[in-house]
């Protein structure tokens, strides 16, 4: 690292790629998939909003370093908010999306204010409590949420007044992809900003950041709220594209699966969240259609493998092996968490 190129030398831990690069790549791949696989659009839509959910989880787990198993509450409340809004107020998708995002943000801010006083195992257990309480409330409020039967009976109005949600799912897939790309851009900007760096700093060493004068809880709460907004958006998209919201969107399984997807892809760098979501959802889809009973063998083995041979290590090892192909390899091999 030479001192003469000072501006570029600042970039050590987080990469300083232009913030629009990753969203643009995702957009390209997504549209290509949409074009080439017109019969798999339901799956594509699901991958898109799951990726957004895992992305929001990455902000909390990977960037802020808060292990949570209650993220489903933020997703579910976004879904129900969008669903109830479409059913009772107005079926316009963009308004519903805003409602869902807002609901997720509000719940994140409210629960975060309580949760962030704790850390470690206590924090983890309390996130589970918050999620389960939300699920119980949703089940009790049958008149609003449909309880165990789910919230259904609403039809979404055409997107922007022009594009109707068709049966093949063309509009839905592009809509979900669009929301993912926008969310990704926002996440990228935030994470690469000084605020994002501060949060990363808090992850690495809370005491030191506090000694530097950073209002730790306030920063974490802001990040948690942003993550809640993105998770709420993902929930809203899931509700609008499937026109039904079930209690399964508030189940513990969603939190656990999202965490698994995140770790499989690699936490902390945003693109890991996307990779994990894509790989896991595709695996689940293929394994379930081949043999629904034995899907858990696959994911269980994958998880154990990932821990024993972490993807980043494997990735770095692969890169080192092929270092002769490009000079970047040695630099990224030195890249720290």
């Amino acid at each position: 690292m030479t001192t003469s190129d000072a501006p570029t030398a600042i970039c050590r831990a987080p990469r300083c790629a232009p913030p629009w690069r990753l969203p643009a790549i995702v957009l390209l791949i997504g549209v290509a998939a949409w074009w080439l696989m017109p019969e798999q659009l339901g799956l594509l839509t699901r991958i898109a909003f799951m990726a957004l959910l895992v992305l929001s989880l990455d902000l909390v787990v990977g960037v802020a370093g808060l292990a949570t198993l209650g993220h489903t509450a933020l997703f579910g409340i976004g879904a129900y908010a969008a669903g109830i809004f479409a059913l009772r107020v107005h079926p316009d998708p963009t308004l519903g999306l805003l409602m869902g995002t807002a609901a997720g943000a509000v719940l994140a801010a409210a629960s975060g204010a309580f949760l962030l006083r704790y850390s470690g195992f206590t924090f983890l257990m309390l996130t589970i409590a918050v999620a389960q309480i939300t699920a119980s409330l949703a089940q009790k409020a049958r008149d609003w949420t449909g309880g165990d039967d789910g919230l259904s009976g609403f039809t979404m109005a055409p997107l922007f007044g022009r594009f109707a949600f068709d049966m093949e799912g063309r509009t839905a897939a592009l809509y979900a992809l669009g929301v993912l790309v926008v969310g990704l851009y926002v996440a990228r900007r935030v994470v690469d900003s000084p605020f994002g760096l501060a949060v990363r700093g808090i992850h690495e060493n809370r005491a030191r950041m506090a000694a530097l004068g950073t209002p730790v809880i306030a920063r974490l709460l802001a990040m948690y709220t942003l993550a809640g907004a993105l998770a709420g958006a993902a929930g809203a998209v899931s509700a609008q594209t499937s026109a039904i919201v079930g209690l399964d969107s508030l189940s513990f399984a969603v939190s656990a699966e999202a965490l698994v997807m995140l770790i499989l892809g690699g936490a902390g760098r945003l693109h890991g969240a996307l990779i994990g979501a894509v790989v896991f959802t595709l695996l689940h889809h293929t394994a379930s259609s081949i043999n629904p009973y034995h899907w858990l063998f696959v994911v269980g083995a994958a998880l154990m493998l990932v821990v024993l041979v972490p993807p980043r290590k494997a990735w770095d090892r692969l890169r080192a092996r092929f270092a002769f192909l490009g000079g970047k390899a040695s630099a990224s091999a030195r890249e720290t968490a």
């Binding site: 017109p38 019969e39 798999q40 659009l41 339901g42 799956l43 839509t45 699901r46 089940q139 049958r142 449909g146 309880g147 165990d148 039967d149 789910g150 259904s152 009976g153 039809t155 049966m167 093949e168 799912g169 899931s238 499937s242 026109a243 039904i244 919201v245 079930g246 209690l247 399964d248 969107s249 379930s288 259609s289 629904p292 009973y293 899907w295």
Partner: protein, 391 residues
Amino acid sequence: MTRLIRKAASLAAAASLAFTAFGAIAQTVKVGIIGPFSGPFAHYGTLFKNGAEAYIASQGGKLAGKDVELIYRDTGGPNPGQTKTLVQELIVKDKVDYLGGFVFTPNAFAVAPLIQQSQTPTVIFNAATSAITDKSEFFIRTSYTLWQVTVPLAQWAAKNHIKKVVTAVTDYGPGIDAETAWKSEFTKQGGTVVESIRMPISTADFAPFVQRIKASGAQAVYTFLPGGPPNLGFVKAYNENGLAKAGIQFLGTAETDEFDLQKFGDAALGLTTAFHYSAAHDAPANKKFIEALKKRDPNAVANYASVGAWDGMYVIHKMIEATDGKKDGLKAIAAARSLQWESPRGPVRIDPKTRHIVQNVYLRKVEKVGGLLVNKEVQSFGPQIDYGLDR
């Protein structure tokens, strides 16, 4: 290079011609079967599979002269979002002609707009909430509804000097239907419902609820729970906590289902239920059904889910016949509306107005026959319609 391309192109053309020709001759009708094949309700998936495939085998492997391909999709449990994605794929990618299955109400609700838009006739093998068939004109049901089996039971109870009843149902669509149906009919007949208990669907320990039932002072408990672990747990709790001895009669519907019946042991003797199918139903059609099942798999269980699949495939068979194997949803439904046949459960027909099966409901008591527990049909209430849609 160009020669290679030309060769490849002609090969491809020939291959595609061959495929279309082949396709035209062996016209396969595709039926998507939606159900849980994993998780705690996975037995439903196996029951559907056995019932459906046994039916096709009993017809000689083809229905109305056409090959039938069954495509199974796993919903895991009540999972409406996932179900919708799976059905969307079945309709758009696999281009299924018919759909069958459905154990859980929310899953059925979720696919209503899809089947309506694509005009895919969908036969419900199990889900029991009355409102389902209202959601789309392409739903036909060969299972039952809670109103259908509860109304005659309530009438029987009132006639048999039972005045005070407590209802205990699982807190979801069919359970609430059951509670509403009982309350409405039983109070109409002059009885009183002293308490209505709703149990969360995830309950594993039923002792608290059973204690509440005991404390309610009722003469009988009317109950409905989904098949599988909840069912098993409740009946065991009923037995273990001495409710029968305390004089509280058990009035149920699907709780003594053949799938779990043997597990209750002698404690289940005497339990009274009203339902549309018993494996002990004495009729040639039922014997044929059980034989066909056992031929496929000696461990197969004949119960309301496998008979729902069997009769469901019969309806699909007739729809294929009526449309000559081509996809024509409106024609198929029109033909299905007027169906009438002798099912393993008894004489049945499809109600043209509601597209729900009209069938005999029987009063049964659990008895021991030949060392095994069976649901002995004590009385037939005659053909019953879906009262839930009549209101």
